[in-house]
Amino acid sequence: MTEPLVVLKGVNKHFGDLHVLKDIDLTIGKGEVVVVIGPSGSGKSTLCRTINRLETFESGSIEIDGKPLPEEGKALAALRADVGMVFQSFNLFAHKTILENVTLGPIKARGVKKADAEKRAMELLERVGVAHQAQKYPAQLSGGQQQRVAIARSLAMDPKVMLFDEPTSALDPEMINEVLDVMTSLAKSGMTMVVVTHEMGFARRAANRVVFMADGQIVEEAAPETFFTNPTSDRAKDFLGKILTH
């Protein structure tokens, strides 16, 4: 593995009585693409959200680029600026134009000049194929377009690592590919990515490693081909049996 970028050690989290993350140990190397799959309620989204502290955790440690996650305040905000996040429901700022959505972070969190931020934003929007929509509002775009803008918005911060929390789960089937294409080219360009998804095709095509979670635990980790063709745990065999037979 390359130099470790994100390191989780013994992370535990409860939602009330429910133990959603159980002693999670996970190391993600620079430039690595890790796909997290697993049944609903297995804790994979929570894991993803814990990495930038949108969810708190009770014990264990998370380090990003050698630095432990700050608990709150400006230090946490500064760390989050380095960690891109793409949500299932896009979460574009509804009152701002597409261009403003992409420039807000660089201007406010990084202190980039407006003109420079806009130039860079247009390049990124061009890259994800929605540059001609720059002056529109999120509600005027399709789901696939909104999600590509959300990816551009994250990229504008030049993140060290990007987290994708089920980025295609809220999309109509014909829009899933346009988003996956952007993500695949991002993976090829060397971006470090943690992707929670149900898209097995993407996992096979773009992932370096598949992490299989069930009941709050990491049950199995393997290269995609190994995992899909020859899973070792019964839980993974059962899960793959249910989804791959269709």
């Binding site: 930038n52 949108l54 979460n91 700022f93 009152h95 807000l104 972070g105 999120p138 509600a139 918005r153």
Partner: protein, 220 residues
Amino acid sequence: MGDLSFAAVLSAFWLTIQLALFSAVGALVLGTIIAVMRVSPVRVLQMLGTWYVNTFRNTPLTLLMVFGILGATYTLGINLAPSSINDNNFRWAVVMLSVYHAAFVCEALRSGVNTVPAGQAEAARAMGLTFGQTMSQVILPQAFRGAIAPLGSTLIALIKNTTVAAVIGNQEAAGLMSETVENQGSSIGIFLIFALGFVILTLPLGLLFTSMSRRLVVKR
């Protein structure tokens, strides 16, 4: 109609408008601060905000007004305009109108904050914005637009509540009306003149806020 001149009515309503304008700005600023406190993650600020709203929303405005003069000015010696009794009365009226309506502005805004999906704040925090930036750039602009109708109702209530300032000697519309009634006896005519004045002030505002709440709604 006796001595009630058009000029006197106009100048009385001018004072009403001034009271309303200054108090509206005060209530909006103060109410926004209290609302931010109530939705902040800091427990102490939340409790302070809640205490503020519960206290001032549940205290009669007349009581606050009288406190401004009898309590604050005469007992505590906090005179806001030592050289002029009228100015002191006016300033305390503005303070009390602001303080009182800030509680309602806060609650209107909080209902506006509830119209903003949680994902908006998450996205803002995830990109590294601080709490203050998240509020000012993402949450409040949408909250205001989601709260225009209740904010409008609060402003209209504030305009009508300026009449309470008469109890501490402000010669705004209600003050002039009660003086006129005292000097010349009451008549339907006098009542109608002042009622019409308030209708002229508030009715267009109501229409304006209704159309704004429709035009400015955040499309999702």
